[in-house]
Assembly symmetry: D2
Homo-oligomer: 305 residues x 4
C-alpha cells in the first residue's frame, strides 16, 4: 500500500503545474502552490503517508459534511431537511440562482454554501463561541486529534472579503431559513472554514465515515452509522462542486474538496484518504489531489459503482 | 381641472377595498389603509389638491430616479451606465436572478433595488451623513420644500428587516459594482427610502421633470434638461416594477411608485401628478393611486404614445 | 427636412463598417452590407427619401406589432393578453428562460419571438393560406402599397434553419398557449417575417401609427386609435430587443427593428420613419439605421420623453 | 429471499392509494393503477418474483442508460461527453432552463430528456428503422429476451403530444448538439420509450449492470465493464429525476425510473431488481415501487454508501 500511495503521488506530481490556488480569499493565495501530500488511514488503523503530508491547511468546504452531522445530532433529520434540500445541483458552489428559482428558497443541499450556512445556524450553543467550540471539539473527536485549531488570519481574510457568503446568508435569512443573527452565523461559518488540518486529520475523519462511525485506532464509536451513510451520499452527489458527476464517473468515491486544496475521500469498509495540493482547476477542486485519487481508485479498483 | 381631479379621486375611492399595505416593512403595515390623496402641479405653477393630500408618507422607491440624477451629476453618464444597465426587466423589483444570469453581474437598470443601491454608492460625500444631507437637500430643492426630512422609525424598521437588500448589496459588492462600505451604502439607501413627503412634494418634483428642469413656481432651472429626460425614460420602461408594460399601455405616462403607496407621474410639458393610497396590488403598486392616474390619463388624453 | 434627412444619412454612413448582417438565416447573409436608405412620411402625407431608399428587404420582426394589431382585431385585448404578457424584458429576443421561470409559461410580451409566434396562432382564417393572405392584405393596407409580397427564398431559409423558433413554438404549444398546429403557425410566422418592404413602406405604416390610425395620403382611417397607441407602447418598452432601454434614452421614439436591417420608428402626431442598413450590432439592431434615428431625434428634438 | 421480496411487496401495497399515473401521455393514463410487481435476478442467475410481475409496461426513461451504452459503443466517451455533460441537476427532468443558462447549451447529463434525445442522435444506422432495430436488439441482448418489442399505441401517443420533447430537440439542434434530422431522432426516441418490458426484463438488465457486464444465466459477457460502471454512476446521481439525492440517502442504490411506473435498480456484485407500479409521486417516480426498494435496501442492508 505504501508503494502504491507513493506511485500515486509521483504520478500526480506531473500535474502540479496545472491550475492555481484560490485567489478570492487573499490569505489563501499566499501559499506554496507546489505542495502535494497524501495520507491513508485504514479502518483497521494502519496509516500510510506520502509527500508533504505534514503540511497544515485550512479545511474550508471539507468541513461541510462534518458540520452537517453535528446539526443532525443537535436537531433532527426532519428539522434539517425541511429547511435544506437533498438534491445535487449542476450549478457552481455558491449559486444564488437556485435559491430564487426553486419555489421555496430552500437551499438545494447542505454542501453548497447557502445550505452549509443554513446548517451552521442549526448548531446549538449559548453564544457563537460556544457553538464554535462544540464544532471544533467534534472535529477533534472525529480526527482523533486534540491539537486542531483554526487559522485566525484566514478567518479574518474570509470575513473581510466574504461578500458573496454575506449575500447568501442574508438571502436565506429573508426566506426564513437561517436561524438567529446573520453576522453571528457567518462568524461561525468563516471560523469553521478556517480550521487547520493535515492530510492525516482528514484521512482519519474519512476512515470514521468508511467504518460507519468507528475511530480507526480505538475502534470506539464516535458517530452514528446512519449519519455517516447520509453524508457519504451527499459527498457522492455533490461533494466536488459542479464536477461531482465527472468525479463519480472517474473515481467513484464519496469525497469532499475544499478551496485550500484539500480533498477528503472515503472507501466504504476500507479506508479514509486525505490529499492536499493547493492548485485548483476552474471548478474549484485540487488538480493534483484528484489525480492521486484517480490513480488510487483505478489501481486498487476502489469505485463503489 | 379641480373638478376632474375630484372626479378621479371619487372614482378611485371605489377601489380602496382592494389590495393591502406593504407588510414586509413592519412600520409601513401600521398605516390607515383607507387614505387617498392627490395633487397636481402644472408647469405654470398652478396647484390642485384632492382627498387626503396633506398626508405624509415615506417616499420609498419614488426616490430612485431622483437619486439617479444626483449620481449622474456627481459622476457622469459614462461612469454610471458602465456599472448599472439601461434595460427594463420583467422580473420582480428586487430580483437577484437577473444579476447572476447576465454576464457581468451588472444590475439591469437604476430602478430595481440592486441598481438603486449601486447608484447610492456613487453619490459623493465625506461621510454617510454628508451624503445623505446632499441627497436630502436635492430632494428639498426639487420639491421646493425645505421642511422635508426622514422618518426615523421607518428607517430603523427597514434597516432591521432589510435582509434581501443586504443580500443584493453584498452581491454587487462581490461583483465590484458597489463603491465603498456595504453597511454605509445601505444606511444611505434605507434613509433615502424613509424620506417623508406629501402628494404636493412629489407632484412638484414631477412638474420639474415635466418642464425639463424648471421649478414650476420660480421658473428657475433646478435640474439639467438631459437628466430629466433620461429619468422619464426609465420611469416609462421600468417605473412600475413588473407592471411597467401594462401601465404604459393603460396610462402611458412616465411614473414611479413606492411601496408606501405613493406614485409620482409626469405629463411632459404639462404637469406633475402626485397620488397616495397605501393599499398595494401584488406587483407593489398603489391600487387606488393607479386608478386616479388611469382616470386622468383617459379623461385628459395624457398618454405620451 | 430633406436636407436634415440627407445629413442624417451622411452621418450614419460613417458607421457602415461596424456590425455585420444577420448570419443565422443563411439567405440574409448574402446581402450587400453597405446599403443605407431612409424615408420619412409625415402625417400630412409629405415624403422625403435619402440613400438606397428603393432597396427592398424582408420585414422580419418589424412585422410583429402589425400582426399584433390584426390579432387584437380578430380576438380581443382580453383574449390576447391573457395568453401573452405586456411586460418588457432584459433578455435576448428569443429567450426560452423567461418562458420557464415565469409561473405560467406565458410569453412576456408580443414582441419577443415566443410571444409573436403565439400572436400568429390567434389570427383567424380557414387555412394557413387564408391567414397569410389576411395578414398580407393588412400590411398592404397600412403601407398603402398593393404590390407587397413575400420573399420565397428567405421564407425557405427561415423554415429550414428555424430550430430555435420551432423550440419556442413547441414549448408554448406544450404550455397550452399556441392555438392549432405548430407547423402551420410556424409557416405563417416565417412567411410573415419574409414579407418584402422598402423604407417607404415601413415609413408609411409608421405614419399611420403616428396619426393614431389614418392613412397619411388619403386621410382615411385604416386602424383603430386604441390599437395604434397600444403597439407604440410596446415599441418603446421592447421594440429594440434588449437594447430597448438604451434606445429609449438615446432616441426616445417608439421603434421596431428587424434582423434584415430595417427599423420602423414613429414620431407621434408628426411622422413615420423607415430606415434600412443590413449590418447589425450584437443586440440585433441595424447600426447605421440607429444612427440615422439618433441624428434625427437630436436634431429635431423628437424624443417623446 | 423470496420471503423478503414478498414482505417488501406487501409493505409497498400500503402505498398503492398514493400518487397517480402519468397523465401527460394519454395512453399511459389508461392503466390499472393498483398493479404492483417486483422481480429479482441475482448475478448467479437465481430469480424471485412477487405480485403482478408478469405485467408488461413501457420502459420510458429506464431506457436512457441503455441507449447511452449503445451510443458510447457506437462513438466514444470523448465524442459523447463533449456533447452531453456528466453533472447531476436539481431541476425537473425535462428542463430547458439548464440548457440556456449554462454556457454551451450542452445538456447537463444523459438522463435528462434533452441529454437522452442527444444521445439517441449519436446511435448509428442507415435509417431510423436500422437505428431502432439496433437499439431494440441491444435491449433484447441485455434482457436475455428476444420477444421484446414496442407498443405502437404508446409510441403514437407520445409522438402526437410530445411538444416539450420537440422543443428540447429543436433547441439542441439549434445549439449544434443534435446529429441529423430532428423528427427522425424524435421517432427513435419515442419508439425507444415505448419498448414493452416486464419486471423480469429490467431486473435482468440490472443484473448485467450488477455483475459489470455478464448475462446472469449464461455468464457470457454482454457489455463492457467500464460502461456498466459509468451508467451506474449516472443512475446514482441523476436516475430518479429531482428526487435522486433523497433516493440516494434513503435507498442508496443505482436506479432509474420511468413514467410508466417501472424502476430498475442494481445492487453491485449481487443482483438486479425490477419493480412496477403505475402511480407516480409529483417528482415522477413510482410511489409503491420506491417503497419496495426502500424495504429491500433496509432489510438487506444494500446501500452502497
Amino acid at each position: 500500500m505504501q508503494k502504491i500511495l507513493d506511485e500515486a503521488v509521483d504520478y500526480a506530481r506531473n500535474f502540479l503545474h496545472q491550475g492555481q490556488p484560490a485567489s478570492y480569499i487573499p490569505e489563501l493565495a499566499k501559499v506554496n502552490s507546489q505542495l502535494l501530500g497524501a495520507a491513508i488511514v485504514t479502518t483497521e488503523g494502519k496509516t500510510y503517508y506520502s509527500g508533504n503530508y505534514k503540511q497544515h491547511f485550512t479545511i474550508q468546504s471539507i468541513s461541510k459534511p462534518i458540520a452537517l452531522i453535528l446539526a443532525l445530532k443537535d436537531r433532527s433529520e426532519q428539522y434539517v431537511f425541511s429547511r435544506v434540500g437533498m438534491e445535487p445541483t449542476g450549478d457552481a458552489f455558491n449559486s444564488i440562482i437556485k435559491l430564487e428559482t426553486s419555489e421555496s428558497s430552500k437551499p438545494l443541499n447542505p454542501l453548497i454554501n447557502a445550505g452549509a450556512i443554513a446548517i451552521d445556524s442549526f448548531i446549538k450553543g449559548e453564544t457563537v463561541e460556544d457553538k464554535f467550540n462544540r464544532l471544533l471539539n467534534f472535529f477533534r473527536l472525529l480526527a482523533d486529534n486534540n491539537q486542531i485549531t483554526y487559522d485566525v488570519n484566514v478567518y479574518k481574510s474570509e470575513d473581510s472579503t466574504g461578500f458573496k457568503n454575506r449575500a447568501l446568508a442574508n438571502f436565506i435569512k429573508d426566506a426564513g431559513i437561517l436561524n438567529g443573527d446573520v453576522e453571528e452565523v457567518l462568524e461561525l461559518y468563516f471560523k469553521q472554514c478556517s480550521i487547520k488540518v493535515s492530510c492525516k486529520d482528514i484521512a482519519t475523519i474519512a476512515s470514521v465515515l468508511a467504518s460507519n462511525g468507528l475511530n480507526p485506532f480505538s475502534k470506539k464509536r464516535v458517530c452514528e452509522k446512519h449519519y455517516t451513510r447520509l453524508v457519504k451520499t451527499f459527498m457522492v452527489t455533490c461533494g466536488m462542486y459542479d464536477a461531482s458527476g465527472e468525479f463519480a464517473v472517474k473515481v467513484g468515491l464519496p469525497a469532499k474538496s475544499g478551496v485550500a486544496g484539500g480533498i477528503m475521500a472515503t472507501v466504504p469498509e476500507k479506508m479514509g484518504i486525505g490529499v492536499y495540493s493547493p492548485n485548483l482547476d476552474e471548478k474549484g477542486n485540487s488538480v493534483a489531489g484528484m489525480k492521486v485519487l484517480e490513480y488510487l481508485s483505478n489501481r486498487l479498483d476502489l469505485s463503489i459503482f
